[in-house]
Amino acid sequence: YAWDANEEYLFKAMVAFAMRRYSSKSTTQISNVLLCNVTDRVSFWFVVTDSSKNVTTVPGSVVEAAIRMNRNRINSAFLLSDKTLQFLKITSTLSPPVEPSTPVWLIVFGVVLCLIVAGIVFLIVSGIQKHKKKNKESTERENLEEKVEVTVTLENGLPCEVLDLKAGHINGVFAADDERFTSL
């Protein structure tokens, strides 16, 4: 909307309203609010006079306090915000950011931790079960394999491992490559 004389009238009315609410006196009139130095950028100075005290101006601190108290009403009258309607020397009281009762991060953390602990417990338990099964199986197999193991690895009365370690020559004809053996 464009700034014209009607808007100025509304502004004077809002300031008068703020003064009335703040000091609880019903004596401030719209004519008590004076605007001066109005520029194109829509910035101006204003003073509030006190008609009961013979044309003196109300102290600035009182006006500031009154406006601060009613800031949101003034803003909404003009459909503006603290950023777009600026009163020099009146800093706005900022509203704190919304803080939920339990911090959100604790909830997320709890979810993550539960998942991980569940995974660890699952893996440990499955490991223990596998271990028990393997133990049972190996004791059964050991009895069968004992006899077979003794004969397999002897060559000319010497175990194969000893043959490998001694500084003997490997006969290329017989034990050439591993490819001769079928790979599993």
């Binding site: 520029t39 950028r41 900022l94 991980i116 397999v152 491992e161 500084a167 599993l184």
Partner: protein, 611 residues
């Protein structure tokens, strides 16, 4: 001769499910946080596209040969780092012990960095993001002073996350929220490494591939942001003059070396689970190439986002100036826009110079904003988080970004933990019946307890110390001894035969030359240059001190003597293992017999280690 009922190499050693798992684990270990937050920074400060030249040269002459050496070594000897070096020569066992110590030290502090990532991740689920707004001060008339003077992201990082002290000597208390996150991170590491490569092999499918997905998403998003092209042009414009500065070459060499995670013992551990007849030469080239390509690929979205951030900051600067000019001259709104700002300013300067001077307008220069380069944690937790706030749908981007960082770091942690775990399993300090789950649990628990000191208020200063001293110089020393050990102690002829047996091809001239001469020489030069540069300036750190006059700039402080002693200890401890173990063996050998040959008898070779 009776045919063996099983394959000759059946020794109960765990193995990879398939080759892809192994390659993916190596790639995951090599590709880490440094690819995202160190390489783009180096590219930017060292002349953009021109940096790729020393980087590529370092890759070819230092990175790939050393990588091939480690992979071949582990695959041939089928043991972790300590066992492998003990097998090559008991005098060189110290090299393995050194890598083992470095792996421990690095695991400790690396997981704390992941703790910070996790903290940011779980805080990304809020609306608005907690690092986008400053908290209010007591009478709610303005913002908290520390936050107001720096920025909201800085405040969230230094105060809400780290709660940092102004000096490293003031330790402060343990921060409970960081302890919770640290416990979670170590629990995740335990979950993934609980049975060694059986479990990491499954986890790596997710942690190694997911970052590439997210990088692609960020790439697409980043390129659509305004100002992205400025950032990319700035990054890749080659400035060949920088190549005259030896610092650039040093940085390229160190970046390649640390980026490939060499000398940790983790790569030796990974390849020791391979079947012996595996083409390690091709693997090495693949892993190194993928690592470098990833660095390049990651720098594109990083720099699009940084360009976007610089452009937004530039626009904000312009807007602030425009508001003050309009206020001062009472001009109507929208009379000065960003496009005609400069013409207006020159016009007003000619007509009312004293008013313009009185306004004290900040000069807004896009180049200056682009020049503000950061690397490391500053890039991720300050610069990038600030850019994320500006994007639409910031929660989703934040969540994606931090999950990506977490997976990048986690896959590197797997390699570190394997480097600690595998040698312990082989040292046989625990009996065969103790389950692996217990051993990995003990390792994770002890590491968690020690890493609690990083959750003190001064923890981030200590992490910088560990990063600078434990994770840099010892690796160079160990890698140097690795190459010398294999080439001159084990003798390269034997090693060539082993590699030929494993890959089926003769070692070509490139490997011979690089292994014999170029790589050790390069390592020596890099080591000397590194040490010299460190010695030149007294070890100092940048402290965050709200009471400093130059705040929000950081205060430069010198380390107190006791901290300097710890730095030296950290750097020296792994290196000193090498001569100590050699000395220990020399004494043992002198006492036992007169035979002081360096290497075990002639018959030993790769093919013979069937047990």
């Amino acid at each position: 001769l009776s045919a063996a009922p099983e394959t000759p190499k059946e020794d109960g050693r765990p193995k990879w499910d398939n080759k892809f798992q192994y390659i993916l684990s190596c790639i995951g270990f090599a590709v880490g946080l440094g690819n995202v937050w160190r390489f783009p920074y180096l590219c930017q400060i060292h002349g953009g596209g021109a940096f790729l030249i020393p980087y590529f040269i370092a890759l070819v002459f230092e990175g790939i040969p050393l990588l091939h050496l480690e992979l071949a070594l582990g695959q041939c000897l089928r043991k972790g780092s300590i066992g492998a070096w003990n097998t090559i020569s008991p005098y060189l066992g110290g090299v393995g012990v050194g890598s083992w110590v470095v792996s421990i030290l690095v695991s400790l502090y690396y997981n704390t960095v992941l703790t910070w990532v996790m903290w940011y991740f779980i805080n990304s689920f809020q609306e608005p993001l907690p690092w986008s707004v400053c908290p209010l001060n007591e009478n709610r008339t303005g913002f908290d002073k520390e936050c107001y003077e720096s920025t909201a992201v800085n405040y969230f990082w230094y105060r809400k996350t780290l709660n940092i002290t102004p000096d490293i000597a003031e330790s402060g208390t343990l921060q409970w929220w960081l302890i919770l996150c640290l416990a979670t991170c170590w629990a995740i590491v335990y979950l993934c490494t609980i049975r060694g490569i059986e479990t990491t092999g499954k986890a790596i499918y997710v942690t190694a591939i997911f970052p590439y997905l997210v990088l692609t998403i960020f790439l697409i998003q980043g390129l659509t942001l305004p100002g992205a092209t400025d950032g990319l042009v700035y990054l890749f414009t080659p400035n060949l003059n920088t190549l005259k500065n030896p610092r650039v070459w040093l940085d390229a060499a160190t970046q390649i070396f640390f980026s490939l995670s060499l000398a940790f013992g983790g790569l030796i551990a990974f390849s020791s689970y391979n079947p012996q007849k595996n083409d390690c030469e091709k693997d090495a080239v693949t892993v190194a190439t993928v690592n470098s390509m990833t660095s390049l690929y990651a720098s594109i979205p990083v720099f699009s986002v940084l360009g976007f951030k610089a452009t937004t900051a530039y626009w904000d600067c312009l807007d602030r100036n425009i508001i003050s000019v309009i206020n001062e001259f009472d001009l109507p709104e929208k009379s000065i826009m960003r496009q005609n700002y400069t013409s207006w300013i020159s016009f007003l300067n000619s007509s009312h110079p004293e008013k313009i001077a009185g306004l004290k307008l900040k000069s807004c220069d896009l180049q200056e904003f682009l020049d503000q380069s950061v690397s490391g944690t500053g890039l991720a937790f300050i610069v990038f988080t600030q850019a994320i706030i500006l994007m639409p749908g910031s929660q989703a981007w934040a969540i994606l970004f931090f999950i990506m960082l977490f997976s990048l770091g986690l896959s590197s942690m797997f390699g570190n933990i394997e480097g600690v775990f595998t040698p312990l399993l082989e040292l046989q300090i625990v009996s065969k019946s103790t389950p692996k789950e217990l051993l990995s649990g003990i390792i994770c628990l002890i590491s968690f307890l020690i890493a609690l000191c990083f959750t003190l208020r001064s923890g981030s200063y200590w992490i910088d110390i560990f990063d600078r001293y434990a994770g840099s110089v010892p690796l160079l020393v160990i890698a140097f001894f690795e190459v010398i050990g294999v080439v001159y102690v084990y003798k390269i002829k034997r090693f060539s035969k082993d590699v030929k047996w494993m890959t089926g091809r003769k070692l070509n001239l490139y490997w011979q030359i690089t292994w014999r001469f170029i790589s050790p020489l390069l390592l020596l030069i890099v080591f000397m240059a590194f040490i010299t540069l460190q010695m030149l300036k007294p070890p100092s750190y940048a402290a965050w001190n709200p009471k400093y006059e130059g705040f929000p700039m950081k205060e430069e402080k010198v380390y107190p003597p006791w901290v300097q002693a710890i730095c030296v200890l950290l750097a020296a401890l792994p290196c000193v293992c090498v001569p100590l173990v050699a000395l220990f063996h020399l004494i043992k050998q002198k006492r036992r017999s007169k035979d002081t040959s360096l290497v075990s008898p002639e018959v030993f070779s790769c093919q013979g280690t069937n047990s």
